[in-house]
Amino acid sequence: MIRLDHVAKTYRTRRGDLVPALEDVSLDVGENEFVSVVGTSGCGKSTLLKLVAGLTPATRGSIHVRDQIVREPFTDVGFVFQQPVLLPWRSVLDNVLFSVEMLGLEPRHYRKPALDLLELTGLGGFETKYPRELSGGMQQRVAICRALLPDPGLLLMDEPFGALDAMTREEMGLELLRIWEERRKTIIFVTHSIPEAILLADRVVVMTPRPGRIARVLGIDLPRPRTMDLEFVPRFKAYSDDVRNLIFSGRKRP
C-alpha cells in the first residue's frame, strides 16, 4: 500500500545549516499491515510520518501510496499525535466530528458513527463532556475516534501513548489492536518503547539516529490476538534483545 523508495529528507535550520533528518529510507507497507517504527529521539520517526502524509516534501526519493505518488496531503489519512490536541471548546462528540468537518463533509450524517466509535472505545456517555473533564487516556481515546471517524485507509500514529502512564499505556495498546481487528486498516505506529513496538506490530522497523536510517525490519511472529502475557514468552524476549542491540550497537558503551 505504501512504498518509500530511497527517501531522504534534509531540513534547513533558521541559520541556514542543512540538517539531514532521514537518509536512504526504503520501506514497503502492505494493505492492512500494522508496522511499528522504533528508535531513539532524533532518528526521524516523526519526519517519516509527515512525509508519508504529504505534509512535507521529500528531498530525495519517492513515496507512493496506493500507486499514487505523494506530493501533497491526501484525505485517506488519520493522524494521532503524542498529545491528544483536542479543541477545548468542543464537547467530546464535536471533537470526534472535527475530522469530517475539516474534510468538508456534513457532520450531521456522522453523528451515529461517531457515537458508535465512542461506545467502541469505552467513552459511551461522555459525549457531552469537555476534554478537560477527561483523563489523559480518555482524551487520547477521543483523538483516536476523531482519526477513525472518516474511516481512513491509513492511520499514522506518532507516539500516541507516549504521554500516558505505563499501565494506561499497555491497556490502550491492546485496545488499539482490538479496534484494528474490527476495522482493518494500515497502521504506521511510531514509538520509542521497544516492548510496545513488538507487542502491537506485524513488523518492527528499527531506526538509528543522525541521520535517521533503517537498521533492520523485523517480522514479528507472535500469535494474534496479542495479550500482555506474551511479554514473558522467550521469543518476545529474543525480539526485544534484537531491537535493543540494533539500536545501541552503533553507540559506545560507557
Binding site: P73, T75, V77, F81, V85, L87, E101, M102, E133, S135
Partner: protein, 259 residues
C-alpha cells in the same frame, strides 16, 4: 448548610465585608476625633452626603466618562484584533508593525493627550482616542499570543484534511485565541477608564475626571472622593461585564477538570 459551606461563606464574604466596614468606621471616627478638616481628609459620611447632593449632575458626568471609556475600548478591539491577525499571519507585517506598536505603547499617553486635544479639539472624540491609545496594546499582544498558541499538530491535522487556511482560522485558531483575547480585553477595559480620565484632565468641561479636577481646585475634596468612588465602581462593573461575556462565550473554561 454544612459546616464547610458555612466556613466558606464566612471567609469569602463576611471577613472582607467586616474588614471594609471596620476601615470605614475607623476612618469616620478618626476624622471626627481629631477634627480633620474636610478638604484634607473628608469623612466617609461627608463623601456620601456630597455624592447624594450631586446625584443628578453625576448622572450626566458619569454618562460622558462611560461613553468615552466604551468608545475607547470598542476601538481598541476593532483595531487591536485585526492588527493581531496581520501580525500572526504575515512575518513581513510583523516586523513592520511590531516596533510601531511597541513605540506607540512606550510613549507616555499623558504626554500625548495635550497634543491630541490640540489637534482634535474639544468634545468626547479626543478622549475616546486617548482611551483607545492607552487600552489597545494588551488587546493586540494577547490576541496575537493566542493566535500563535495553536499547537502545530492541530495545524498539521487541518492540513492533512486539506482544509483551507480560512477554515482553519475560523474553526481552530480563532477559538483557540479567545481566552487570550479576553485576558487582554479585561486589562483593556480598566485601562480605557484611565485613558478617558486622563483625556478629561487635559481639557474638558464634562466627565468624572473633570469633576475631580474642578473639585480639587475649589478645595472640595469630598466631591473629588465621591467622583473617584463612582469611577472605581464603574471600572469594577465594566470589568465584571467583560468577565461575564467571557464566561458566556467560553463556557468550557468553567468546566471543572476531573481529579
Amino acid at each position: 448548610m454544612t459546616a464547610r459551606v458555612a466556613r466558606r461563606v464566612v471567609s469569602d464574604y463576611l471577613v472582607p465585608t467586616a474588614a471594609l466596614v471596620g476601615v470605614l468606621v475607623l476612618w469616620e471616627a478618626a476624622t471626627r476625633a481629631f477634627h480633620i478638616p474636610n478638604f484634607i481628609m473628608p469623612a466617609p459620611s461627608a463623601i456620601v452626603g456630597e455624592g447624594w447632593e450631586w446625584r443628578y449632575r453625576f448622572l450626566d458626568h458619569t454618562w460622558v466618562t462611560l461613553y468615552e471609556t466604551l468608545g475607547g475600548f470598542a476601538l481598541s478591539i476593532l483595531v487591536g484584533v485585526p492588527l493581531a491577525v496581520l501580525i500572526v499571519y504575515s512575518p513581513v507585517l510583523k516586523s513592520a508593525l511590531y516596533p510601531l506598536i511597541v513605540l506607540a505603547q512606550s510613549v507616555p499617553k499623558i504626554a500625548v493627550a495635550p497634543v491630541l486635544l490640540l489637534i482634535l479639539g474639544h468634545g468626547e472624540i479626543p478622549k475616546v482616542i486617548v482611551a483607545f491609545l492607552v487600552a489597545f496594546f494588551p488587546v493586540v499582544v494577547d490576541t496575537a499570543t493566542g493566535l500563535a498558541a495553536t499547537p502545530p499538530e492541530l495545524l498539521d491535522l487541518s492540513r492533512s484534511y486539506r482544509a483551507s487556511a480560512f477554515k482553519t482560522f475560523v474553526k481552530v485558531r480563532l477559538p483557540m485565541a479567545l481566552p487570550f483575547f479576553f485576558a487582554g480585553a479585561k486589562v483593556a477595559i480598566t485601562l480605557s477608564v484611565i485613558g478617558a480620565v486622563v483625556g478629561e484632565f487635559v481639557g474638558s468641561d464634562k466627565g468624572l475626571g473633570y469633576v475631580i479636577l474642578s473639585a480639587t481646585s475649589y478645595w472640595k475634596t469630598e466631591l473629588a472622593f465621591s467622583s473617584m468612588i463612582l469611577l472605581s465602581v464603574m471600572a469594577i462593573l465594566l470589568f465584571g461585564a467583560v468577565s461575564l461575556v467571557e464566561r458566556l462565550v467560553c463556557p468550557w473554561l468553567a468546566a471543572e477538570s476531573e481529579d
